[in-house]
Symmetry: D2
């Protein structure tokens, strides 16, 4: 590790380089981003993609039902966690391998590629057998051994911003993936922790970071209105705000119906209904027909 560090330390161009806009002459004078191909779904074309599904895979029935519903509502990719990072060791930790099998079946039936989280560098191979895109969660944003492993594995990576990460820290986390040869990275803003926590939301969606990141990196940037609010009633407005801000996609938690809200093991209060997702997806598609908002490069 020390040798590697010695080699790499010689890079002269700032703390991140491979993901930086200024590194690529062809991107320098635009706000276009590098398109990432997730099992045939193009992210970063100017038309926002919709990633939707349950917070966690909790059963075969629940997952297949939600997969069917989000497909019908217009989703492009299916989300759902088999390995869940949970604050307490006594909370539901995900279904693990069994959850991965359910996700594989949900993909086969719905035709939607799957985005799912990996927590442990030793699990990358295992989760990567099933996933079309590996999610690195907010808590793992600076889990450097994990970042290097998902970089080496080669599947597209959805990299969430930690709730207290600066923009540089976030882009440097992406750089850890990129230095292993993998540039297929989607950045995901999921809310920052501010004094408003516990007042009217769980986190503060930080949309200022979208144009700020756009200016510095060629990577596509998506938003997560579910975690950024923690409240299903706020998700539609905040999803539309994100689209208005020019994000390349949304990742949204969905529950099958209102009866599930309290029985859900993970994050029930923030899941929206399939009909609400459909309205958001329609609005997002409407945005595709408009020219993208241009940001003057510095």
């Amino acid at each position: 590790m020390s040798e590697q560090a010695a080699t790499v330390t010689s890079k002269p161009n700032g703390p991140y380089e491979l993901v930086a806009r200024r590194t690529y002459p062809e991107y320098r004078r635009t706000t276009r981003c590098r398109v990432v191909n997730v099992a045939g779904v193009a992210v970063g074309t100017g038309c926002p993609v919709i990633i939707a599904g349950p917070c966690a895979v909790e059963s075969r029935d629940q997952t297949l039902a939600i997969a069917r519903a989000v497909k019908a509502a217009g989703a492009d990719l299916l989300r759902g966690g088999a390995f869940k990072p949970r604050t307490s060791p006594y909370e539901f930790q995900g279904m693990g391998d069994e959850g991965l099998e359910i996700l594989a079946e949900a993909r086969a039936r719905s035709g939607l590629p799957v985005v799912t989280e990996v927590l442990d560098p030793r699990d990358v191979e295992r989760v990567g057998q099933v996933a079309d895109c590996l999610q690195v969660g907010a808590r793992s944003m600076q889990n450097f051994p994990l970042l290097r492993e998902v970089g080496r594995f080669g599947l597209p990576v959805l990299l969430k911003r930690h709730w207290a990460a600066t923009l540089t820290e976030w882009l440097c986390a992406a750089e850890y993936i990129a230095v292993e040869g993998n540039l297929d990275i989607l950045l995901c803003e999921r809310g920052i922790r501010t004094f408003t926590q516990g007042d009217y939301n769980r986190n503060t969606l930080d949309l200022n970071v979208i144009p700020a990141a756009r200016r510095r990196t060629i990577l596509p940037i998506i938003a997560d209105p579910s975690h950024a609010t923690g409240d299903a009633a706020m998700v539609p407005d905040v999803a539309r705000a994100s689209i208005g801000c020019g994000v390349d996609g949304l990742i949204i938690e969905v529950i099958a119906d209102d009866s599930q809200r309290c029985r859900t093991l993970c994050d029930g209060p923030q899941g929206i209904l399939p009909a609400e997702l459909e309205a958001i997806a329609d609005d997002a598609r409407g945005w595709c027909r408009r020219p993208q908002a241009k940001l003057a490069p510095r």
Copy 2:
């Protein structure tokens, strides 16, 4: 004052009541807000209004030129400060009475009603002679004597949220105005102070607070993308985000042309050009034709 306090303390319905949605049966089952009439401009109809102008009145020529330009770009109201709250006593403090005269002339020539700030309870009468809407700035949000005076004066009030105010503190500040008999209040979100300050922005625009406030109050809610970013290059994206979130208006700082950016005495880096304002105003008008995003009341 002790007698008054004794009387008012008997109110049973929480820390704010006159501005609360639940107080009004006719508003309880909708997300509509109470329309505020600012010299003939209706705020809160579902179609966002555009308030634009210089940060500060710095000269007659500058103010008249910008007023003409924002009118042509589609603004509904003219903003501009004659009394400026400044961090240091050695910074430009505004033109004072001379600035008020210039604002009166700008209104006469452009036909745009004027929104301007008042800092001191002793100045309410004087500023109120010229203003169509009195602005209470973020730093004054809990200047209770000032809030009572602008409440008594009776003109519409634009009440900015302090950068570290909870939602309850903000609504209670509005209540101080309302208890004096004045419900013509526009709430304005202008960014909160978070750990991101100085990283890529001056403040974090908090759009989560829009649906959260909508649920609790009948007052119209607008956003200030200029202060919420501190960076002209971020204003257009963030203005569109605010519109997507369902705000009732935008207040935006404008400079006449790029040559003014460095010569401007106050907040030059965040002023946008008239052409950029026009594009934002067009997008906002497009939003009028759409049904307003609905938020499920709690």
Copy 3:
């Protein structure tokens, strides 16, 4: 006002100058501060002073009893509010003029000089008749007209830091007082608002700001463990922490006995008992005999 601004803007030495350490050759190579004389009590000598009393003056009996108790416990100055800034207009707003009379009697009987808050520039004269030191509260830290009035009045001023103020903003607020000819200013850190609010405290006591401010200004700096925690059980530890950090004084809220905690109209949960105050005062005096912690000037 515009003329004045024009004059003052010409100051060349940064946003604050009169309160800056670098302005005074005699203070430049030390961390000593300028001693402020509050009716015979010297603040800034290296031995921390204790300012204690009720949050608000709520009755003659309550105030006289607490004044007697804090005097016996070793307090140097009496605190207590007759005009209270309260989040909601329906909360107890202070006893006003009647409260000032009670404070005058408490001073006469206890022999302790009085620190009390003024909220409105129009009240400075009235409050100043009774106070030995005028307090400008956190919410008023950038109430510039108020700062100028207390500057002109000439009594010592205790200037609280707003819960979201940078160090520069705080020192510039002091400068607004100083430009009116009054350098008798005590800075008071009372906690900043962070994501921890509502978790285990009301605010986060920011002791890092003590050495940082020490380096930049000649003004004495005190701490307010009561507001910085909002929890009586945390006050003693945090008070000792402040003393360890080298503050020039503590301002602490006291209740007469535990039965008062719930009946107190203002901030009952954070008031400590006289016996706890006495233990803190003893520790503070122990600190006087030690050489002050030295901070290497930059």
Copy 4:
């Protein structure tokens, strides 16, 4: 994993139990903590221990020199990183295995037990061969696979609080270690990220959390004034503040002499000199002779 989760989920006593004060009748009515034995050094006796050393092991000479100096200055334990979590992949990542060998030699020569960080669950065995106490860094506080591995390994663990972790999140992270059978955990507060970042410090030392955590857990709690300020000139005052607040120890970064400040590869600006450490250690020892500050349990 799902079976385990199912079993563990049945715990009835809140999100953390094994580290909670209320779980242990013998601790319930005191503020004493459980003493942790780090290779013969008792932490949590009421007398603060001093952990000191370089930020990173950068060479044999540097490490041996600093180890000798901190021993002479009164340190009880040696700190120093062989594996360093760094924001950018291009920064010095630590000397790895070679660094571990140097640490082993430094321990042999100085007689000080060694605290060093482990980043990767696959490295626990390797680092644990040399360490007397494994450090889990702030960025890894919610690296749950790592927490479980260090729990299983059985050496004492120094668990830093993430800069944006609530108290519950921090105690739950300790619980992940404890459920694997290891209660030898030292909690370490190292500063939280607030709006003050980049103003006058890198982080805000949060001393309020010390009494708040004391009330809830039996684990010893130490403070890290180096990371909590990021500025050597602030470390002594803030270290004394921590001692005043009743911490069970301090962990402090030391450089050999001022000429090292700029040549140091990691965190040079926050390292203090051996002479400054000695003064702090003397003050801490003075504290041992005093009865510990008592906090009223809730």
